[in-house]
Symmetry: C2
């Protein structure tokens, strides 16, 4: 880092200037570079990728514990597969990148670059599934997908290429498939909420806002610090909508041929990362939950001249000890001042800093500083590992709790269009009685959209809420409680 | 698995019928499905992906320990980047898939689906590198690449889409960059040879066979069981060939602007997997090295009726104990017979089987069977974990040793074209004196190619060998010892 860049190092925008803060933190901590010369495509840089790889590991571990297996399908889908399910093709066609040539030749059939993999995978599922013994079939792949977004792109939140997991499950019965929808919500809860600290509400989307080709969609909505809604993993109950055209059939225990039932689930790692950055960050920069931090512990030597060697040797022995315990740990040996290093790694969100100077050497201790509270503790040398583990767990716990408290405060109710507007202006979700989540309700949703620039996100999938009054938009008897918010 | 499929379960081809054996083992152990409806693209199935994910982990760990960081670049490259380095574009143009449309629109600039990422990454490297302080820059990505192969495709070995790692490194000096070439060979040796058990020779390719745009290429060649040569990871010394057109420059310690030096390294995971399958497999099917096995330990309960519950409970407690130790372990609770299970998991290459029946329960032991030698041991309950760990290490060690011994026997010498032909017919590498590895030697290489259908693979990059006689093809004074083989 050249001298003259050192001075500008820290964050200059407070998090309350959210949009500027987000851009600044991405640039200063080098999470991505937006200057790649294809519109809508960005480079995901080291500090973000190290974290996203840990996020993949957490999610894949949870999926595998729920008996999913990994698979890799081709990234290209022939046009004839793509057009088999009519609602699906209609929904996705405007967003598809098409490969038409290879080498010097024109291809005989153009190929879609996968925007999602239903139509790639289900042709093969039809070959693999023969009998009830082959079910359930639960497979997932980690991969990229490409969508020609016409909406404005924002790094990590919406771009023309993103990194996700897609799980595609097949069952013998409707009941098992619907249970899977709830298992997927549980996965989002255990991992995205429990480990990454992102609170959410699972909404059953209204009929007019479901996944193209699904019977219904449940999506996990969370909030950005400015109170805008952002969609995180969704899970779709596909019913037999794809199984029919793709011919996914099986012979049941009574030797009768049946059509299979399906679900799919799509957590977008790069987008969840945006929530991790924005929900936990503060005026100083990033704060990573301990489990997914690119570096969990940064050791900073406090050098007194003449003592470099002794101090470096001790730092190295602590590093090696923590590394053997399986932690991601590093020592900053650079020539920058200790103060510069503190700021640098705080901005980059390293959960725990260990400082080690001559006085600490004498006292056989280190100073442990945690990123979320700034709290300092002297830790005897022999207790470093347990102290780090405990502080790491406590930091994650604290981030989750803080996020939950804030999130709860962002859910309110309204009894009229006027109240709805007032509440929407404060950000977050507004709970209202509504006429219908089926297509009859669409007009009312459009009215809310036009007048208040807000969307009906759906009704809760995790609990039943009974409406007490009339639809906030049309005044007819309400049949459902929905949540309204302004989308990112 | 339906009853009538059980009967055909085992392998029917001996490994000596190599080509048929390879097809059969892929189909029977469900490593991939070749029926995907785009030519040259295959589906990588669960059993293969679980192993390849472990292979990624091993390789990434080694790369990170050598101070590489992960990054994710876009999969699309604008045509204008792609054409910047003239030799590179000439080499790759015939193999590129082109995206020309998106949604309903024609793109203003067509996009290459990356066949390799030099031209995507180096435009950004030019922005990131300013000073000697920014060097070395060592980044890698795990990703897929797409090449419109015109040669016949074979599963895992050559297809139009493959899964690899590409590392792209930048240095201040030529010396450092050339050291990196040797560090890359060391990585291949430590991981592909040491952990996956694939022996190889690193060859400096002759001038006419280097990577498009490189100064020179070193490639790790290994052999298939039929004695044919297959190229594994290669590392390229790019010199300043890309740094010049892409403008990768830096200010050195004396404030002078310099052009950077580069290398790149590309291990193809899906292709290395082909070597793992073919080198270690036997007449019964697959044998996985312990570290990368999809399942490392399979527990098979030997059921006596009335005792199911007790035996299953014990199997579960052993599974859970080994799982906590971090092993990949499973119990086969299916209704198939014990004999069927033994054959099934042997064919699928699980390194260690634990059998547990009523007699073992009484004696507080399990029977441990290792896949490579078939050796059986009674292991007291308390010693299961250490016995599994030790047997696992011993199995991998044995696979490496066996492969090395075989590989050594496949390297021979020849002193004339006639001898060369005789030796080539036996398979493997044939060592010959040769006129030149520079372009003067091309004619002689072509002569060998035409007459003997074999390629000059290059001279060894790991040691210097002095030629003693004349070029085997033209009779001029030899300047180099090269190895000839028939390529897969």
């Amino acid at each position: 880092m050249p001298e003259n860049e050192k001075v500008q190092e820290g964050m200059t925008r407070p998090k309350s200037d959210f949009s500027e803060w987000f851009s600044e933190v991405i640039a200063k901590t080098e999470l991505s570079d937006l200057r790649y010369n294809v519109k809508g495509f960005i480079v995901f840089r080291e500090w973000a990728v190290l974290c996203m790889e840990e996020m993949y590991r957490s999610l894949e571990k949870e999926l595998q514990s729920k008996r999913h297996f990994p698979i890799w399908f081709p990234a290209v889908i022939p046009e004839k597969n793509f057009t088999k399910e009519s609602e699906h093709v209609e929904g996705f066609a405007p967003e598809v990148f098409w490969i038409t040539h290879a080498g010097g030749e024109k291809l005989t059939e153009k190929l879609a670059l996968r925007p999602t993999s239903e139509t790639a995978m289900y042709t093969m599922y039809a070959k693999w599934i023969r009998s009830w013994r082959d079910l359930p079939l639960k497979l997932y792949q980690r991969c990229q997908v490409w969508r020609y977004e016409t909406k404005a792109t924002r790094p990590f939140i919406r771009s023309r290429e993103f990194h996700w997991i897609e799980a595609h499950d097949v069952f013998a019965t409707k009941e098992e498939a619907e249970r899977q929808v709830h298992e997927d919500i549980d996965t989002t809860d255990k991992v995205m909420h429990g480990k990454f600290g992102i609170p959410f509400i699972p909404f059953r989307r209204p009929e007019w806002d479901k996944f193209a080709g699904a019977v219904y969609t449940v999506a996990a909505d969370t909030l950005m610090p400015d109170g805008k809604v952002i969609q995180q993993p969704s899970t779709h109950f596909l019913g037999q909508n794809f199984a029919r055209p793709f011919g996914i059939r099986f012979v049941d225990r009574n030797e009768k041929e049946q059509i299979a039932w399906q679900t799919c689930y799509g957590p977008a790692i790069s987008r969840i990362f945006a929530s991790v950055v924005t929900i936990h960050g503060d005026d100083k920069g990033l704060i990573f939950p301990f489990e997914i931090a690119p570096v969990q512990v940064m050791i900073v030597p406090i050098i007194k001249s003449g003592e470099e060697e002794r101090i470096h040797a001790k730092c190295e022995s602590i590093r090696s000890m923590l590394d053997k315990e399986g932690l991601r740990v590093s020592v900053d040996y650079s020539e920058n001042s200790a103060g510069w290093k503190f700021n640098h790694w705080e901005m980059r969100g390293v959960p725990i800093r260990l400082e080690l100077g001559p006085r600490d050497m004498e006292r056989k201790q280190v100073v442990l500083v945690r990123r979320d509270t700034g709290e300092k503790q002297n830790i005897p040398e022999k207790e470093i590992y347990p102290a780090v583990k405990e502080t790491g767990a406590s930091l994650t716990h604290n981030l989750v709790k803080k996020a939950d408290t804030w999130f709860s405060s962002m859910v309110r109710s309204a009894g009229s269009m006027h109240e709805l507007e007032t509440e929407l202006d404060k950000g977050g979700f507004v709970r209202v009685d509504f006429c219908s989540r089926d297509s009859e309700g669409r007009k009312c949703a459009e009215k809310i959209k036009e007048r208040l620039h807000a969307e009906v996100r759906g009704d809760r999938a995790d609990r039943h809420e009974a409406p007490k009054g009339k639809c906030i938009a049309c005044g007819k008897k309400a049949t459902v409680v929905v949540y309204v918010g302004r989308q990112y």
